[in-house]
């Protein structure tokens, strides 16, 4: 189907974006890669009056490392993030998640920031940035602020972005010595949204995991940390028995609903399978 008619403006500056958002309010939508927005418009789930194309804002592009922080511009495409040596060296979890995001043609246009601002519950990147303890840099007319990833995802397609604000970059603490990451996902077909996905991050002392973060996507309206399973695993050598026990604790934090892809029980079961596979792989990694 075709979208309802709208106006289109190519913004030349962030100030112009802020003015347009202030003037049009809810009738305006930001357009970055458009790989989530345009399907929504095509299906007429949304009918904004004006699209503000921010793709020309050079300041939102680019990937760089300064000191101990990897900075990914909101307009970096998934393909750029995937190809980036800075990302694979400083945030290998993102490199692990990238192949699961849609397909090449969508990755060439879809953006890192766009995926985060859209906050689809089954998207891979929100879980990843929570697992990495990233900070999301947000700009508005009043200035810039930094929001911890754990506080950014509020609900179904709902983030901490206030009206008139734009996500400009994501700052990720660079991968420190001893840390390992793991990512795995169940989807019906390659590139589909996750039925369950796990973004895991931990420091390994021998085969014992410390500072464990286990963040699931696809099982709730936003990324969920399996806090009980994390506490159970913390500081102990990773063994099959420990993981079986951790699986049993998932239900403390995960309460997936039935959906078109799987029942809540199946999702919970699959989440446990992912937990075992990912942590075993991380423990076994050199």
């Amino acid at each position: 189907m075709k979208p309802a008619p709208f106006e289109y403006v190519r913004a030349r500056s962030l100030d112009e974006v802020f003015d347009l958002l202030e003037r049009h309010g809810d009738d305006a939508r930001l357009l970055a890669g458009g790989q989530s927005l345009l399907p929504t418009l095509n299906m007429r789930l949304s009918a904004p009056e004006i699209l503000v194309d921010i793709c020309g804002l050079e300041a939102l592009r680019g990937i760089s490392v300064t000191g101990g922080t990897l900075r990914i511009g909101a307009l970096a495409t998934h393909s750029e993030v995937r190809a980036s040596a800075a990302v694979s060296q400083n945030a290998p979890l993102l490199a692990q998640a990238m192949p699961h995001i849609a397909h090449p043609a969508v990755r060439n246009k879809g953006t890192f920031g766009g995926s985060l601002a859209n906050a689809d519950p089954a998207a891979e990147l929100p879980a990843c940035v929570v697992a990495l303890g990233a900070e999301l840099e947000v700009a508005g007319k009043a200035g810039t602020r930094s929001i911890p990833a754990a506080d950014f995802f509020r609900g179904l397609y709902e983030t901490a972005l206030e009206p008139g604000e734009v996500l400009v970059a994501v700052n990720v603490p660079a991968h420190a010595a001893g840390y390992r990451s793991g990512f795995s996902e169940f989807a019906r077909r390659s590139g589909d949204f996750a039925i369950s996905a796990l973004a895991a991050h931990a420091r390994f002392d021998g085969d014992a995991a410390q500072d464990v973060r286990l963040v699931f996507a696809g099982v709730d309206i936003k990324p969920v940390r399996a806090a009980a399973a994390e506490r159970l695993v913390e500081g102990k050598p990773v063994t099959a028995d420990l993981l079986a026990e951790a699986k049993g604790r998932l239900a403390d934090d995960l309460d997936p609903s039935d959906d078109v892809h799987a029942s809540g029980r199946t999702k919970l079961h699959l989440s446990g399978v992912l937990l075992e596979r990912v942590l075993l792989a991380m423990a076994g990694a050199a």
Binding site: Y8, L38, D53, H103, V106, N108
Partner: protein, 161 residues
Amino acid sequence: MTGERDIELIVNGEQVAARIEARKNLVDFLREDVGLTGSHIGCEQGVCGACTVRLNGEIVRGCLTLAAQADGGEVWTIEGVSDSGEIAPLQEAFIERNALQCGYCTPGMLLTAAALLRENPAPSREEIREYLSGNYCRCTGYQAIVDAIEAAAPKMKGAGS
């Protein structure tokens, strides 16, 4: 503002200018305004791959790109990459291996395969399947398509712009 927009872009090496509705997507623009009907529409959600075209050197979904976003850019469609000879080895292999029946998915398959081979000149069958997993075919069952891309890969090395 009227919901319309003037755009100028290069399509298959030629300058094109048009006035279009802002909501018009790139594949509709190419098909209706430029007359290039080789790119097809299947889902308008970006999952089937039939609308795949090359924008500014990269494959994109024509149904998830506004024509307005291509203003000032360069687009190559199946017609262009076929006429230039860039994908001749792929086309020959598709015919030899019976990798098309109705042909609806084929332009998207060829453009995606060309992009794969540019990135990875000697992909495994698994890598071919993974890269082409965003292009749906209802006729062939995919095996012949994988065969054709695998067979064409050595001949595509060094070819193309």
